[in-house]
């Protein structure tokens, strides 16, 4: 139970929230329409938010359309969650310098990290963030760069008011309402936003805003909105127990997927919980400078399972199995829960229109949609 009542910010005062975050020294990142998709990108003005835009998604298909709605957050999600902000697609791990005498020096680039505030974070992506935190921070060797970015992050979540056909967070237990992991959460209504703090920092920001009381009818609208989104989620991922998938490697369905799957790795790139990356060396011709770079990698790529003289996964089928069985099954042993938070991106951004949920339900439970 919250110890403080939710409070209300009128629509025309939303700029105050942005200003307040900017004053506090945050670089503000929020949803914007760019190249036909909703992407999280730096912004300073409310006018940059996707006013009236909504999305239509299906496996292999994403379209935005402009409606006459007055809402800024009436959409499901875009191609990327928070992952690129904390675990960037590419970063330099160290620079090596070879001195004239042949000795080596290793320099860790000190990329000054500026505090970032993200507004418009969805519940499924908060869950995914918690999983990335677990992976990168809670082991024996916390990732210092991730940690630094994570520490300086301020999160303004928004509760979903609509669901795409690919959304299934209700069935994974990760939405549609954000319950934890944010500094503030907003529920967008026609007239404005119900705000709720999730941290001390969030309370401080809220204290700077011109808030008014929340009425009973607003709370009812909020409740109704949540129920509508719940009901709108036509997809459901069935409960998959440990080994449910791992023991079904012989299922004929995998072969059928393998004919269609392009092993392109898009699903893993957009998945907010996928963490694989490779490290490569980039040398300069001068013989003095070289750098070791970390970049997102995918279990669909050939180098992922390559050993001297042996390719662990040399077929599309085995790579698809690695992706799905790892995500839905082995994750449970590794992180205590499945690696899927129901965002649906792996389906939308699959150029081969593969329906991850339907395939998983079919293989694990024999359920035909």
């Amino acid at each position: 139970m919250e110890d403080k009542l939710p409070e209300f910010l009128f629509r025309n005062e939303l700029q105050r929230l942005l200003d307040c975050l900017i004053t506090k020294g945050f670089k503000v990142i929020g949803p914007k329409v760019e190249d036909g998709a909703l992407v999280y990108s730096p912004l300073e003005q409310v006018a940059e938010l996707p006013l009236g835009w909504s999305d239509q998604q299906a496996p292999g298909r994403y379209r935005l359309n402009q409606t006459d709605s007055v809402r800024y957050f009436h959409w499901a999600n875009g191609p990327q969650a928070l992952k690129p902000l904390l675990n960037p697609p590419r970063n330099i791990l160290w620079q090596a310098k070879r001195q004239a005498d042949g000795s080596l020096e290793f320099i860790v680039p000190d990329d000054s990290i500026s505090p970032v505030a993200v507004i418009g974070v969805k519940s499924c992506d908060l869950s995914a963030l918690a999983l990335q935190d677990q992976h990168f921070l809670e082991g024996e060797y916390p990732d210092p760069a991730y940690q630094a970015r994570r520490k300086s992050l301020f999160l303004v979540a928004v509760n979903c008011s609509t669901a795409a056909s690919t959304c299934f967070c209700a069935s994974t237990g990760d939405g549609p309402e954000a319950s934890t992991g944010f500094d503030m959460v907003m529920t967008e209504l026609e007239d404005g936003f119900i705000l709720q703090a999730g941290s001390e920092k969030g309370r401080e920001v809220m204290a700077m805003l011109p808030l008014t009381a929340v009425s009973e009818s607003m709370l009812q609208q909020k409740q109704k909105q949540k129920e509508t989104v719940f009901a709108a989620q036509s997809r459901q991922l069935r409960t998959i127990e440990k080994t449910d998938l791992a023991e079904k490697r012989a299922h004929p369905c995998w072969d059928d997927i393998a004919e269609r799957c392009l092993a392109c790795g898009n699903c893993t790139m957009v998945c907010p919980t996928c963490f694989c990356h490779h490290q490569t060396e980039e040398a300069q011709v001068n013989g003095v400078d070289s750098q070791h770079v970390r970049e997102w990698d995918s279990c669909f790529g050939g180098s992922h399972g390559q050993l001297a003289g042996f390719q662990v996964r040399d077929s599309v089928k085995s790579r698809y199995q690695q992706w799905m069985i790892h995500k839905l099954d082995f994750w449970q042993e590794q992180y205590g829960r499945s690696g899927c938070t129901g965002c649906g991106r792996c389906m939308t951004w699959c150029p081969a229109e593969i329906d991850f949920v339907a395939e998983a339900n079919l293989i694990a439970r024999g359920e035909q949609e």
Partner: protein, 278 residues
């Protein structure tokens, strides 16, 4: 100060020994005194070795943990980085991160016989265990080394096996699936050889390293000979980039080889050893 597990420490090549046309041994010394003082390892652990301008590879430490200032690696030339490393000379520098992973159960093997089974083109991780036991002869019983190759011509580093064979209470058995005319050892599968080797099954610990199919077959044979599963250890290998459980490449099933292994007790991984694509 850089984190020694995340950023390489400079290390100098103290000595370079060519063991065979495709195997060489590097003795490395960390150049920075503080790094050197802090460095400790266990047999079966590995380092990430970095070649300037080329990249990094995981390599087991084969030297004795009692002298952690001289870190020895026996390396087989298989590809880009190992080829470049083979060109190192004394006095050259490399980078080193580590040590990583869980090594061989040397404590568990105390007072017991060691059965060391390796296959394929030879497997460096077991060298660490052999060296360790031979340095502490009094703590271990008989050391039986069983090596299997596909073809007798594949046996590299024959001299080393011969040297070991000369030692007291060490037995070396070699098997080749196919062999040339001058092959003085067993012809056939390594599993057949296991039937012949005289081991005190109840009082031995088996350390196995090699291709997964061979490890699985050898472990099963040992089980059928009556060795308890908890006495059988295997060393696994997967592509490895970060060695700290972040990069995801070395996952095998739910395990990260780099931090949960590379050495596993056989029953924990038996189910997945023979699965394709895991």
């Amino acid at each position: 100060m850089n984190d020694p597990f995340l950023t390489p420490m400079p290390a100098v090549v103290e000595s370079y020994v060519s063991e065979s046309p495709s195997i060489f041994t590097l003795k490395l010394r960390l150049t920075n005194a503080a790094d050197r003082a802090a460095y400790q390892f266990m047999p079966g652990q590995f380092n990430m070795l970095y070649m300037f301008g080329v990249g990094e590879v995981p390599i087991s430490i084969v030297s004795d943990p009692d002298d952690p200032t001289l870190i020895e690696h026996t390396i087989r030339i298989v590809g880009r980085v190992t080829q470049a490393m083979a060109k190192l000379k004394e006095g050259d520098q490399v980078g080193l991160r580590g040590p990583f992973g869980r090594g061989w159960p040397m404590a568990l093997g105390r007072e017991k016989d060691l059965l060391i089974i390796t296959g394929g083109l030879g497997c460096a991780p077991v060298v660490a265990a052999i060296n360790y036991a031979l340095q502490r002869r009094e703590h271990y019983g008989k050391v039986s080394i069983v090596q299997g190759v596909k073809h007798s011509d594949d046996l590299i580093w024959e001299e080393q096996y011969k040297e070991w064979q000369q030692l007291h209470n060490v037995e070396v058995n070699l098997a080749a699936d196919e062999s040339g005319p001058a092959w003085p050892f067993h012809q056939g599968r390594i599993t057949e050889l296991l039937d012949k080797v005289s081991v005190d099954i109840a009082n031995s610990v088996a350390l196995i390293c090699g291709p997964e199919g061979m490890m699985d077959a050898a472990a099963r044979r040992l089980l059928s000979l009556g060795m308890p599963g908890y006495s059988i250890y295997v060393s696994l290998e997967r592509n490895m980039q970060c060695a700290v459980g972040h990069c995801g490449h070395c996952q095998m099933g739910a395990d990260f080889i780099c931090k949960d292994g590379p050495v596993f007790v056989y029953p924990d991984v038996a189910d997945r050893l023979m699965l394709e694509g895991v």
